[in-house]
Amino acid sequence: MSCKRLFLEGHPVVSNVYFVVGAYAVSWIVLLAYLFRVQSLLRRSRAALAHARSAGGAT
């Protein structure tokens, strides 16, 4: 059923593409931000482990 749509003429048109691009951008920002967070946590914990082991070896 092809329903007749209303009011297409005479109104400013905002493209839906902005919302789609926005949604994908938000997802990528969130995923990449978390990726960096988890990688830096991992680096920090490995540094802590190396420090603990050198402290253990020093005594």
């Binding site: 059923m1 092809s2 329903c3 007749k4 749509r5 209303l6 009011f7 297409l8 005479g10 109104h11 400013p12 048109v13 905002v14 493209s15 839906n16």
Partner: protein, 166 residues
């Protein structure tokens, strides 16, 4: 291990097993449990039925008149009247029982508004049996379909949203 307990090494600060619970945790848990309880027994109760259907609103009779309420249903095909100049929109909402409430709304509706679309309006039912809507929302079905042959999606999904200054 059996030395007297008065040495500094055995003060509570140096025994890791029994640490005082910080007040922040207690506060956080009270807030969370409280929020959850409020949601389940209080706030959600009024939101469990997000909107009334026309037959439910009409069944309330006088007590349903002039009180803020949400009304939902389907836009009755062929009932839409739109005044381009005054942005005055009138249409009828119907439900599966066939009951009808006439709705008056102003402003450009969301772009998916059309005949037979699900809608939810916020407002009051006037004593003139006309529902005065202050907010119009689309209730989309769970169907996602590609356009049929010959339909022009490019034309169909032009947005109708008004942006300030546009």
């Amino acid at each position: 291990m059996n030395t007297p307990v008065n040495t500094p090494a055995n003060t509570p600060a140096n025994t890791p097993a029994r640490r005082r619970v910080k007040p922040g945790i207690v506060a956080a848990i009270v807030v969370l449990v409280g929020a959850f309880g409020w949601l389940i027994w209080g706030g959600l109760d009024s939101n469990v039925v997000y909107f009334l259907e026309p037959h439910e609103l009409l069944a309330k009779g006088v007590s349903g008149v002039d009180v803020p309420v949400r009304l939902g249903g389907q836009v009755k095909p062929g009932s839409v009247k739109w005044d381009e100049v005054s942005s005055d929109l009138q249409f009828e909402i119907t439900d599966t029982t066939g009951m009808i409430v006439r709705v008056r709304s102003t402003g450009v509706p969301p772009q998916m508004f059309r005949d037979a679309m699900g809608v939810v309006v916020e407002g009051r039912l006037g004593s003139d049996t006309l529902f005065h809507s202050t907010s119009l929302m689309i209730k989309h079905s769970n169907e996602y379909r590609a356009p049929k042959e010959g339909e022009q999606p490019k034309e169909m999904y032009k947005s109708l949203m008004k942006v300030p200054g546009a």
